[in-house]
């Protein structure tokens, strides 16, 4: 089999699985990780098609974007940090 096809298939599978995990994962940090994974594998496919420039731009841009999306997700969720009896404790 052609190695390019193998690489493409592997990257595509990673990408599809990753993108599913982004939306299904309950834990925010994992979702962010899978999002980054998806974006990097898309970049890998760009690289496979011989467009290095877009691959690097993809990493450059989305490496900055993922944390921002992550922070937005963080601000919108109401997750408790360091399980404590009540966040309003300590009047």
């Amino acid at each position: 089999m052609d190695w390019e096809l193998v690489a493409f298939l592997v990257l595509s599978v990673l990408e599809v699985v990753g993108s599913i995990l982004v939306v299904t994962n309950k834990r925010l940090v994992r979702a962010a990780f899978w999002l980054a994974m998806t974006l990097v594998t898309i970049g890998g496919i760009y690289l496979l098609f011989g467009s290095e420039f877009i691959f690097l731009i993809q990493i450059l841009v989305y490496a900055g974007t993922v944390p921002i999306l992550f922070v937005f997700g963080l601000m919108l969720t109401r997750t408790k940090i360091m399980d404590e009896p009540s966040t309003e404790e300590g009047t």
Binding site: L74, M75, L76, T77, R78, T79, K80, I81, T87, E89, G90, T91
Partner: protein, 363 residues
């Protein structure tokens, strides 16, 4: 994300001691704060009841580990008032000298701690470098660097060492040059202004209502210096001005910083005056009575504010009841006012400028 409480302490680089500042933050903004103190409570007022008057000097030395001489002096002053003692003039002058040296050393410790609070470790080492000289002076005078046990009820423990005035003058000449250096490092730094100007503001009214005293109150523009208002020892013979903030943004961290910083210059000035006006010989201590009855009340201008001792004697050789007012204990109660609405990073800029000393705060 809901706002949450963060414990800043009891083991935290910001606290400079053993206490806990709970802050509620919303993102980066402090919405509420709650100081938790008492980790270092040793029950001073009770311990002092079971010790003889003179032995309590050792205890009061340990009230504040940065500025111990001012505290034992305040105790001695109260005890003398109770006993009706008159300290010899030379003893009073020596006390003023020792107090001002201790004040500079204490303020240098504060300056040293304030640097790393803002992320400037260089200020720490520079300030500690000069603090050594002042501690050397204290060591020459009292024999100890930290817990001097120097004031006595009725005077001071020992006379000045030989050539002490010359050494003081040398240290002050050197130190005033270094103060200019600190000003270049801190006052002239744009980032320092960014961090302190307009941060942690408290109005003069609030400060008075909450019992904030000392440099922290003077930074609000209120001219309260017990050395001037209610002179004890020989402060009324000295010519100096209390450092009061006169600028526009009163009561912020920068004002507190500048007031405290300039107090070091004032203290240097006072020391030079003392060295000139002090009688060269004479008694420095009177014999104190063993037992006493009545009450003694003394308040002094400690390095951090108004230190107050109220002693009741019932005719025994030890106090019946002692009341200590610690300035930081009251200032700490006002910190939530200063903190609310500021950013999390301002917490250190505010609490550092208040100059917390946990030893006296928790008593």
């Amino acid at each position: 994300m809901p706002g949450f409480w963060i414990n800043m302490g009891p083991q935290h680089p910001m606290t400079h001691g053993l206490w806990n500042m709970k802050v509620k933050i919303d993102g980066e903004t402090i919405t509420d704060a709650k100081p938790e103190i008492g980790y270092l409570h040793r029950g001073y007022e009770k311990i002092m009841e079971v010790r003889e008057f003179q032995k309590n000097v050792v205890l009061t030395d340990r009230l504040c580990y940065v500025s111990s001489l001012t505290w034992s002096h305040a105790y001695c002053l109260a005890a003398e008032k109770m006993m009706g003692l008159e300290v010899p003039v030379r003893g009073q002058w020596i006390r003023v000298l020792a107090l001002e040296i201790q004040r500079v050393a204490s303020h240098l410790m504060w300056l040293a701690a304030y640097g790393p609070d803002l992320g400037l470790l260089t200020a720490l080492l520079w300030a500690l470098r000069e603090r050594e000289l002042w501690l050397d002076l204290l060591q020459l005078l009292t024999g100890a660097r930290m817990n001097q046990n120097y004031p006595r009820i009725g005077g001071v423990r020992n006379d000045l060492p030989e050539n002490f005035d010359g050494m003081c003058r040398r240290v002050i000449t050197h130190f005033e040059g270094k103060l200019d250096e600190y000003e270049k490092l801190l006052h002239d730094s744009k980032i320092f202004h960014l961090r302190t100007l307009g941060v942690g503001r408290i109005s003069a009214e609030d400060a008075i209502n909450w019992g904030v005293t000392g440099p922290n109150l003077r930074a609000c523009g209120v001219n309260v210096d017990l050395r001037r208002l209610d002179p004890y020892e020989t402060y009324d013979e000295l010519d100096f001005e209390a450092q009061v903030w006169k600028g526009s943004s009163a009561g912020d961290s920068y004002a507190r910083f500048v007031c405290r910083f300039n107090e070091m210059r004032t203290s240097c000035d006072i020391i030079l005056q003392v060295l000139e006006k002090m009688p060269t010989s004479g008694a420095y201590r009177t014999k104190e009575p063993r037992r006493a009855e009545g009450d003694g009340f003394a308040r002094t201008e400690d390095s951090r504010g108004e230190a107050l001792f109220y002693i009741l004697g019932d005719g025994d050789d030890r106090p019946y009841r002692v009341k200590i007012r610690s300035p930081i204990f009251c200032s700490m109660a006002a910190t939530p006012l200063m903190l609310r609405g500021n950013k999390l990073a301002d917490l250190v800029a505010i609490l550092g400028s208040i100059d917390v000393c946990v030893g006296e705060m928790d008593k």
